[in-house]
């Protein structure tokens, strides 16, 4: 069956009452996650992931994907109305969105955010349908050495996700690799770093670590934080003028293409891309003088970009098994919980699953548009919920979430321990993202590395006969070297600027 036929079949499955229901629930929860400061999409997916294990795989992943793209839209509501970005990708929306709200144009700002998200999300999905099967077909021809090369290349994104310090990013990544070593070796059954403890032989659970780092740490950090400001002026109208919409179309399309293609690259998260898109639009727009003062294109561009990124990010995730961002790394953990290994074989072995999830994302975009515009007032009021009510609920979800996966209190203890480790890491400015990426990639890299060596009869010399693998490994090493070089140059330039 061709791509179009598979997509139609996906639409047919995604339109079942069960899948529509869970897509809607995911959109609502995602918007809520985006609206509530302190719970980003990663924590949102991590909290809900174990709960969805009681569902069949398709509705579960349909719901989690909806949480992911729903949170992108939800974040814009609070950015525009109260100048508080619900998640990192919406930070840039505050610049012009909040200015528009202060000028009494919150309605058009919210409307253009929703329309831009819808258009960019939908076009991004068309790109996903077009590029993903082609990339999967190419990826099908690769063996363990090439897969090892891909994981090395994917690991190189840790450097670009390192935040302020490359060293600390690498440290975070190596902590992730260390954590993966604890337990029984999957190939030989020998215990590693267990210190003779039977409890440790089960390994440290991925979900427990992610929930600890992203949800528990946030609870510890945020207790006592109150949101005082709330948009009190009435939302006069969500109707946007035709003229304004026409002005924004160019910005939306540019943001879509930028967001989609940059989103396919490992290491480019929605936060960075929405900034790039805003900056690009500011440079090319005829209305550039108004940027920062309430330009409607300043809302359309970042909102479009961060929604196109969500579709773009699914290309490497589904075809190569490489999560380009933390949220998608957690989502990938969800796929693996169901025994679904993202990668080229997923398209061949699980076409119904893949195309139903993709089709559900088209439907989810429509649901978001229909559901959220009339409910925007309610979402804005959700920010009033004090954190001392939200925090206990997150704690409960952390307990149920981690306990339900393997029914082990030890896993909940791991979650608590990583909540505290996360607090220390936060203070020492050690980023969480490389750790979570390493948790996913490290076991894959080990497997492919050992398979490659077995193929070569105990030697890595086999790589000389595998040019694609060599190119991928070289590209990974070059990426690391180039990123470090750029960082050093940037630091020097900053110092020179500071002393001038």
């Amino acid at each position: 069956m061709d791509t179009f036929g598979l997509l139609l079949q996906g639409f047919s499955n995604a339109s079942s009452l069960q899948n529509l229901f869970f897509a809607s629930i995911g959109c609502i929860l995602g918007t809520l996650v985006g609206v509530l400061p302190g719970i980003g999409p990663t924590a949102g997916i991590a909290i809900l992931l174990p709960v969805t294990t009681f569902l069949p795989p398709i509705p579960a992943i349909v719901m989690l994907a909806a949480v992911y793209y729903g949170s992108m839209y939800g974040g814009s509501i609070t950015s525009i109305l109260i100048n508080v970005p619900g998640e990192v990708a919406s930070i840039v929306t505050t610049i012009d969105g909040y200015q528009m709200a202060k000028q009494g144009r919150a309605g058009p700002a919210l409307a253009i955010a929703a329309i831009s998200s819808f258009i960019a999300g939908t076009i991004g999905l068309v790109g996903l349908c077009f590029f993903a099967p082609k990339l999967a077909n190419i990826a099908l021809k690769i063996g363990p050495p090439e897969s090892f090369g891909i994981t090395v290349l994917a690991f190189s994104m840790i450097v670009s996700m390192s935040g302020k310090s490359v060293l600390k990013g690498l440290l975070s990544g190596v902590i992730g690799m260390l954590v993966c070593l604890v337990g029984l070796d999957p190939q030989t059954g020998l215990s590693r770093l267990t210190f003779g403890s039977i409890t440790f032989m089960g390994g440290l659970d991925f979900i427990a670590i992610i929930m600890g780092l992203f949800a528990m740490t946030e609870v510890f950090k945020s207790v006592g934080a109150e949101i005082s400001a709330i948009y009190s002026a009435p939302l006069r109208s969500l109707i946007i003028k035709w003229n304004e919409l026409k002005q924004c179309m160019g910005a939306i399309l540019r943001a879509t293409f930028l967001g989609f293609f940059l989103g396919c690259l490992p290491g480019c998260g929605p936060g960075v891309i929405s900034f790039i898109s805003y900056d690009f639009e500011k440079k090319v727009s005829k209305n550039r003088a108004n940027f920062g003062k309430g330009a409607i294109q300043g809302v359309a561009a970042p909102e479009g970009a961060n929604n196109a990124v969500t579709a773009g990010g699914f290309v490497p995730l589904l075809t190569l098994g490489i999560p380009p961002s933390t949220s998608l790394a957690v989502l990938m953990g969800g796929l693996m919980l169901y025994g679904l290994q993202p990668g080229p074989l997923l398209f061949e072995k699980q076409p119904v699953f893949v195309w139903t999830v993709i089709a559900s994302m088209y439907i989810g975009n429509v649901i978001l548009l229909i559901l959220n515009l009339p409910l925007v007032g309610i979402w804005a009021r959700m920010v009033r919920v004090p954190y001392h009510i939200v925090a206990p609920l997150i704690i409960i979800f952390c307990f149920i979430g981690t306990y339900s996966v393997r029914n082990r209190i030890f896993d909940v203890g791991t979650c608590l321990a990583f909540g505290i480790i996360g607090l220390v890491m936060d203070k020492l400015e050690i980023p969480f993202v490389p750790l979570s990426i390493a948790l996913i990639l490290s076991p894959m890299m080990e497997t492919y590395f050992r398979q490659t060596i077995s193929m070569g009869g105990g030697s890595l010399a086999i790589l000389w006969d595998k040019p694609i693998a060599l190119i991928l490994i070289g590209a990974g090493l070059l990426t690391i070297a180039f990123t470090i070089y750029l960082r050093l140059r940037w630091t020097k330039a900053k110092d020179a600027f500071g002393t001038a």
Binding site: V51, F54, L167, L170, L171, V174, M177, L178, C180, L181, D185, Q187, T188, L190, R192, L193, V219, F220, V223, G224, P386, Y387, H388, I389, A391, P392, L393, I395, I396, F399, I400, Y403, S404, N407, I409, V412, G413, L416, G419, I420, L423, K427, L428, E429, S442, E446, F449, R450, I453, S454, G458, S459, L460, T491
Partner: protein, 145 residues
């Protein structure tokens, strides 16, 4: 942040040595279980040296948590740790009720009665939803709920 960086370097160095010891114990060749510990151990040692030797840029001093924040974090984490010890015996609903009451009390100024009612409703409500409707096998304890 130099002291903190060096301390980090020391800790990661110890972890690296631990990996090498483990790799030595498990070593059967490059396709064996000791491969990854060697690689991770090697990276740890290199990072350790870099953290200790390379002069880091002096940034703003770390603003550690205030006494009030440490008290709150300590209360929540200690309550949660005690909760993990007793939850199998007390059961999910009762243990969760007590945990939430302590956590909410330490983070809000609401009246105790209100807190007890709200946290009790949440504990019992989530217990019913997850146990009965979603069949999550939560600890039942001596009261059976």
């Amino acid at each position: 942040m130099r002291f903190a960086d060096r301390l980090l370097g020391g800790i990661i160095g110890i972890l690296g040595i631990l990996c090498f010891v483990e790799a030595y114990r498990l070593w059967t060749g490059w396709q064996g279980a000791g491969t990854m510990p060697i690689i991770v151990g090697g990276i740890c040692i290199v990072l350790s040296v870099l953290f200790i030797v390379v002069p880091t840029r002096e940034g703003a001093p770390i603003e550690w948590y205030s006494k009030k924040e440490i008290f709150r974090i300590g209360t929540i984490s200690t309550s949660f740790a005690i909760y993990l010890i007793v939850v199998d015996w007390l059961g999910y609903s009762l243990a969760t009720w007590l945990l939430l009451a302590v956590v909410t009390r330490s983070t809000s100024t609401s009246r105790i009665l209100n807190i007890l009612i709200w946290t009790g409703a949440v504990a019992v409500g989530t217990g019913i939803i997850f146990k009965k409707f979603l069949s999550v096998p939560l600890p039942t304890g001596f009261i059976g709920f």
